[in-house]
């Protein structure tokens, strides 16, 4: 299409603006890279499990870190910073869920890496268990998936979960109890059926 004439003064001004934009990031490159290396894998796993979609998790991961860098906040500790990142990721997943409401959630496919074949576990049993979990998780509400993942896969404390999900600490115990009950009920119903067949 048509491009507007831009003067040298405009170019200089816009260059200054662009350089200043990066200065508004809340950490420098080295600090960010260290923080990313520590947190990206668990955040991706969290996003993949709560959305049930690996490629969506890839997109949301990038977006989460971008918003985190642009956030004008100060953090008191590493844990506070990490919880804030999880909160951004959770909100993005919720937004995406609202946009695609009505579509069927596809569970994360169970792939078996070489490590799974060599570590002495029963690969077939592991695969069956994960398929059961995929189906069971798909029946839960997004909030229940988030709570259970953070508590039992990630090993977060109630306080960290509350901070990450933007909930009151006092309500975590009850919400977690209900979500756990529900998942255990679904898994319990699936496993005996499998044993019989």
């Amino acid at each position: 299409m048509f491009s507007r004439d831009v003067t040298f003064l405009d170019v200089e001004r816009l260059n200054r603006v662009a350089a200043a934009a990066v200065e508004t990031f809340q950490m420098d490159e080295d600090t960010f890279r260290a923080f990313y290396d520590r947190t990206a894998r668990p955040v991706w796993a969290y996003l993949a499990r709560i959305t049930g979609d690996r490629s969506l998790a890839d997109d949301l991961l990038q977006e989460s870190y971008y918003r985190f860098l642009r956030a004008e906040r100060s953090f008191t500790s590493e844990s506070h910073r990490r919880n804030y990142l999880y909160r951004i990721a959770t909100n993005l997943a919720h937004d995406r869920h609202r946009q695609t409401r009505g579509t069927v959630t596809v569970p994360v496919p169970a792939e078996h890496g070489p490590a799974a074949l060599t570590d002495g576990h029963d690969v077939a049993a592991d695969a069956e268990r994960r398929t059961d979990l995929d189906r069971a998780m798909a029946q839960l509400k997004p909030r229940e998936r988030e709570l259970l993942w953070l508590a039992y896969a990630h090993g977060s404390s109630h306080e960290e979960i509350a901070d990450s999900l933007g909930l009151r600490k006092a309500s975590i115990k009850m919400l977690l109890f209900r979500a756990r009950r529900r998942l255990a009920g679904i898994l319990g119903a699936v496993t005996p059926n499998r044993a019989q067949s």
Partner: protein, 161 residues
């Protein structure tokens, strides 16, 4: 009141997390889990989650930190430039509107002046023969072209990309 937590929950979670459950735990803990509904649920859910976590962890194919930083930097620059360019676009739009208004007012005054100078002139009196002359025909074509091209030109000037 129905209990929603058990004091042994953390022991059970520790045992699952450290892969001690079910073979390397004390008999007392195993007996407790067998008799406690809450701890039974904890074992079922925590075992499934841990094994799923390990599998997903291995599947994770995340971009490098340098790549993510670079993309964020590019995006921040583009957003800043877009934001800074907005006043220029607005100024150009205002200038175009002023020119358009000026042309309309000038055209209006010119038309009333012409009408005043030639009071007998009426479109209805213009014969078809006069319009068919080569000069009038080219004038009409030029006017039509102007009417079509002017909005397109304005759109191109005011559009961002």
């Amino acid at each position: 009141v129905k209990a929603i937590e058990c004091p042994r929950e953390s022991d059970v979670l520790d045992a699952v997390a450290s892969a001690r459950w079910p073979h390397r735990v004390t008999q007392e803990l195993a007996d407790h889990v067998a008799s406690c509904g809450i701890c039974t649920d904890v074992v079922v859910v925590a075992e499934a989650m841990r094994s799923d976590h390990d599998a997903i962890w291995q599947q994770a194919d995340i971009p490098s930190s340098g790549q993510v930083w670079w993309r964020a930097e590019m995006r921040a620059r583009q957003e800043a430039i877009r934001q800074a360019s907005r006043p220029i676009t607005i100024a150009q739009g205002v200038a175009a509107l002023v020119v358009l208004a000026f042309a309309t007012v000038t055209g209006w005054f010119a038309w009333t002046w012409i009408a005043h100078q030639t009071p007998t002139f009426k479109f209805a009196n213009v014969s078809a023969q006069a319009l068919a002359s080569p000069l009038a025909a080219s004038l009409v074509v030029a006017l039509c072209a102007l009417v079509v091209i002017a909005p397109v030109a304005l759109y191109l000037v005011l559009s961002d990309e």
